[in-house]
Symmetry: C2
Subunit: 363 residues, 2 copies
């Protein structure tokens, strides 16, 4: 069992990482302030872990909302279902909302917590690899709008994040790979040694070796916590964490939410960012190729969806949260292990990257 | 022209109070960061001031949303209309949302600003007396839920508040009185001298004497700014500002939003709080009677709606944001000019207050 702290002054909180974390009542109870709790989960995760979690909360006044699974349900309508349940069960300002599930559940439960009675306490119990290394840490919450991903939301930090490695045993392979995409991202943008370690440890990660997974999750959360502590509200370095996301969000929006997993879209997006960085002369062609190979090894896609053209990308990227006064800003790579937020790229290079198709990282 | 500052560290902002405030471009422009702005108004205020405001924003990329007027429209559905307009017009994270209207418009525009792309800039131009002295200052934003008022929202401070006294010239008498209710509240809970001044100045206020109104607005905003600076997120003294509101919200919810004006419900609520404070032995009967007379002078109601029984109050008050672990907390008066948040009142006294009907403050 390992503990990390996200240092945010009065909003600091611990992340517990290990096996059997959420069968231990003490981890949970010490972070619940009042007598009320609301568990938010989905219909895929609830059958697996809900009863266990309810058992830990004996003595509390607990309500439960089980939402349908999937990014397509990450909407204001689902948030309304949570509000209704909170009010019907008379939850007051001292209640704690507990997210049990993947990133979609965490983002929605978090936004409900941020906005119910102008903010109540919140606990993250992420059950997918992707949410364990990414969305559960850092306080970004929100929902999608038909016109753009995560366009509605709030910064709202949890009281604690409980990461139980055991929950990965039930995770489908495709979602394991999607989580690995975000782990690769941390190496790429912040830590070249970690990136090298991932390359050599990929077989162990895919085989769900618990030591390898624990190390990968720990270092990912540590990097994220370090960056978030420096820049909670994303006015600077936190934007690095969006490496691959501007391209990736465009893919997700174009395909309709839920068809591509978030991590899959980010995988292609990272390769595009690397390709553009190479065209800018910042990284080597061999480095783009090695990223391509690592993504392939992790069973991740490396080509944008068929039929998605550069105009589709340009149209969808223009509404990105990193656009400021009409100027597109992208997170690119200065080198492996160091990202940069830049408007200083050639439009011609960008078009070439968007048109590269299955040649991304190959030429 | 007078200027006040709400001191909240990096989130500090000025309040400009005077005549002709919002015909002066400089006040507005210096607080707009990017090139985009979105005006949110309603169909009652827009015909009066929208064109004037748009004129001040020449050179900016301005979108406008005009919502139907009234508390009944303070819903998530209206917020969705604002989100749709923001996305359709490609507003990015550097946009500024400008609220032009009363408290309902300000609360909704503010919540949209708090949650669009996890928070964008926001300017308040309150055009009703009530919103000028209350909701435009302090950063509370949100919408109603069928089960409770302001149950969904966020703390989100504006960049600036522009209070133009000229906008009061078009305000209906009933809304003027509703605003005076909140002004009386500040005297009651924080400043006995101001309370006395209000008693003697009530005829001038009702006659819309601009010197009297400016003084009343200035002192009200000053008190609110002082309290908010001490306790932005309402963990302590800020709760004082809810004097009369627990009773008042119950009235509004019981009647259906919009039937009673907020200030009217607060007027009765303050008298109930005073009545209960007297029953507790904290203030004199003569003080309750003088409040009753002051409210009557201001053309405000002093009796709960016909047919609203103590059970209705108890039921509706149990979901109040000040309820913690099932215990009802009320803002009461230790004396004129000093409030107290208390659970230490006799239930029997509370029932007597709720049953008093038109005898409130009379016996």
């Amino acid at each position: 069992m390992q503990t990390l702290t996200v240092n945010l002054g009065v909003r600091s909180y611990p992340i517990y990482i290990g096996q059997g974390v959420f069968s231990r009542q003490d981890f949970l109870k010490q972070h619940i302030q009042g007598r009320q709790a609301m568990i938010v989960s989905n219909d895929k995760v609830a059958p697996l872990y809900l009863e266990q979690l309810q058992g830990l909360l004996e003595g509390y006044d607990v309500s439960t909302v089980v939402l349908p699974d999937g990014e397509i349900h990450k909407t204001l309508a689902s948030i309304s279902v949570i509000y209704d349940a909170l009010l019907t069960n008379r939850h007051n300002r001292s209640t704690t909302i507990i997210a049990l599930g993947g990133g979609v559940v965490g983002d929605m439960a978090g936004f409900a917590a941020a906005s119910y009675q102008r903010g109540v306490n919140f606990i993250q119990i992420p059950t997918t690899l992707l949410s364990q290394v990414d969305s559960s840490v850092g306080g970004k919450t929100g929902v999608n709008h038909p016109k753009g991903k995560n366009m509605i939301g709030a910064f709202h930090q949890p009281q604690v994040v409980l990461i139980d490695l055991d929950s990965l045993s039930t995770l489908p392979d495709r979602e394991l790979s999607a989580g690995i995409a975000e782990i690769i991202k941390y190496g790429l943008l912040y830590d070249a040694d970690f990136y090298d370690w991932l390359t050599s440890s990929m077989p162990a990660l895919l085989a769900r070796d618990s030591t390898a997974l624990e190390s990968a999750i720990y270092r990912s959360c540590e990097i994220k916590a370090e960056i978030v502590a420096q820049d909670e509200r994303e006015s600077g370095i936190r934007a690095w964490l969006n490496l691959g996301h501007t391209f990736g969000h465009a893919i997700e929006t174009h395909q309709g939410y839920g068809k591509w997993l978030h991590g899959e879209a980010v995988a292609v997006g990272m390769l595009m960012a690397a390709d553009l960085s190479w065209r800018q002369g910042w990284i080597k062609k061999s480095e783009v190729r090695s990223l391509r190979n690592l993504l392939l090894m992790a069973n991740l896609p490396i080509v944008a969806p068929e039929g998605m053209l550069e105009d589709d990308f340009m149209q969808l990227m223009s509404i990105d949260k990193k656009v400021i006064d009409g100027e597109l800003r992208l997170v690119l790579l200065k080198k492996i292990g160091e990202a940069v937020v830049s408007t200083q790229f050639s439009n011609d290079h960008l078009m070439k990257t968007l048109r590269a198709g299955d040649q991304l990282g190959q030429r």
